[in-house]
Symmetry: none
Subunit: 416 residues, 2 copies
Amino acid sequence: MLGLVLNTHQQWLCRQLGNLGYGVHRQVAVSDDGAAIQEAVREALTRADLVITTGGLGPTSDDLTRDLIAQLLDRKLIEDAGILTKIEKFFAERKRPMPASTKVQALVPEGAIVLPNQNGTAPGLAIAVKPNPFRRGGSPGWLVMLPGPPRELRPMFAEQVVPLLQKHFPQETAFVCRTLKTTGLGESVVQEKIAGPLQPLTDAGLVIGYCARIGEVDVRLVASGQRAQPIIIEAEQIIRGIIGKSIFGVDEDELEQVIIRRLTERKETLSLAESCTGGHIANRLTNVPGASVVFLAGLVTYSNAAKMNLLGVRPETLAQHGAVSEATAREMAEGARQRNQTAYGIAVTGIAGPGGGTDAKPVGTVFIALATPQTTSVAHHVNRYDRETFKQVTSQQALELLRRTLLNELEKQPTT
Amino acid sequence: MLGLVLNTHQQWLCRQLGNLGYGVHRQVAVSDDGAAIQEAVREALTRADLVITTGGLGPTSDDLTRDLIAQLLDRKLIEDAGILTKIEKFFAERKRPMPASTKVQALVPEGAIVLPNQNGTAPGLAIAVKPNPFRRGGSPGWLVMLPGPPRELRPMFAEQVVPLLQKHFPQETAFVCRTLKTTGLGESVVQEKIAGPLQPLTDAGLVIGYCARIGEVDVRLVASGQRAQPIIIEAEQIIRGIIGKSIFGVDEDELEQVIIRRLTERKETLSLAESCTGGHIANRLTNVPGASVVFLAGLVTYSNAAKMNLLGVRPETLAQHGAVSEATAREMAEGARQRNQTAYGIAVTGIAGPGGGTDAKPVGTVFIALATPQTTSVAHHVNRYDRETFKQVTSQQALELLRRTLLNELEKQPTT
């Protein structure tokens, strides 16, 4: 509540719960204060069938949630030998001494289900509040406590909380959701193209959502009831008929995953030469498990010297056209491809800003080159954004250039 | 509440209010539903002297807040001619037709103060709720309604709401906040080391918070009242005396910024050779404006061929010790340093997983080498995490190795 931390849990949990067909009615944040936490949990239990808390399960003195909730529900805290062993193992594996304070994480409110933490020391806890003393009629509720760090909370929710919810709160009218991920078109352009043709399905219950992300627009299709599945399938067919080439994936797909998958299928390799994106593209590609099979090398050539020494860009090219130019991008891509002996070479050179722009080449100017076994093509964009957004948008354009090229090659080949 | 939007208002507003000395006690999000919005505002008015709402002031059918609050407070909505003229001007300047629905934004609850919107069409509104019908004793409250888009909300808050608050809620005791950012120590270790020595200050009103991030632990110091400033200064001195070397920065500092700053001050250059971090370190460094002055080149050498060709790693080294080894890391760092003619060369080689681990070298094994003008040192860690976290933790260790080395060199030099 001091504005030191951005709450990303709300969005993430709401998304997960919505995808499962559960409606989230309220999200509350309070300060690390015993009375405020207890009041918020008590109020939530008067209102909801399911209450999820995040954070406050760790080993330090401001981690109060476990104690406060045990007190609120009048349950004893009991040390769980299994958790303690796991915590000890966690430290032993990392060859680090285990501080005594860590032991509080092995305390479990009487009757709670322990949700083991695969990525940290604090387990989650789930408590059936039955009867619920805070709700009229005492109808039972569930209280789920999750650890604060996202990389602990997210797998724990997906692997352990979801099955628990599906068991205790079975959904009869499941939602069917399908997200089509597009790139290269603006949000309103996507809507203009597809909303009209989808009108009959919208009348039949299809709900369309548009979500503009950096360098992407997601089209979310949601339907419920008996005909949900055929409605979603028909909607996807209609959309693919109109903007199919701009759709790079579905649901959780990321463009870098699609690229690695396609190259792996084709047994082809890739190298990179990045200037203004500074390793952003390499970092995205190497986030994909198995990337090493097709992504052989990336060169972050910030200086002119590096462009010449590592990629063989000619001094005359730099002198005549400058580092940010179509000619330099072309030589960088071809240099990366040849020196690393890969099928494809992608190069990016531009001005990320905030400094470095001129009238002829304003901040945001970028040249993206793709060298293939057949030819080298260069795209020119002006991406006027802050530095980090610039890198994200540019890396999206570079990967999309490769995806489209692979797609076109596929189309040229006769189908057998 | 469907998880389609990330709430950044809470953090931003809490930070602004905290800096002015106002404590935020609760943040609530509800869905675009009339009853839920009215209930949340009513509850907030029972609790707080000041209630701020964001969003729901626009022209579309889901913008309900203005109407709902007028109804809740039993105030008539009156069309404000001044606002209407401004909205008409906004569209005329942009040569766009003005949709009829836009006119609702000129409606003002009786008695409300209009907060003109310099960056959009929906003005903000401030209402003195006097007497407050929802609060015991009817003590007066203020209700401030702000538009949802951050680029409209933020300047409106800074320019118009802050003066209003300072007039109606004069603050005598401002908060003082200071965040010390550490790396290399676990959360509970940090607490064990510093909590005891800080106890006298804690008794005097210092509040300490610990926040574990990936590869970092933030120590937040907060105090208020007349002695706030000296308490925070003394606390920082005590902490620096105990774990000073682990503190890489304060407040908004990121480790990559600190590295770029130090190297720029020292007029020294850096190159990278990344295997398992796949460009993550280069990407972090190049997020810092001005990085190009000191960061000359990064090589992402995923394949053995790239390690040999681009860095000069010897085939015998790879054959004898393997790509993930102290010897390979050493040759990579030295190769990067020599080939790019930089003062420092950092190299990382390891097994990010999920595949590729062996008994001798399990997933998470990583060797980090730093070549300096004097010597080359290699650190060995086992970072057992998911792939992306592995990259983040490892990049943190690599940058910290450089930061510590620079720090030690500084200490060796005689002070003049």
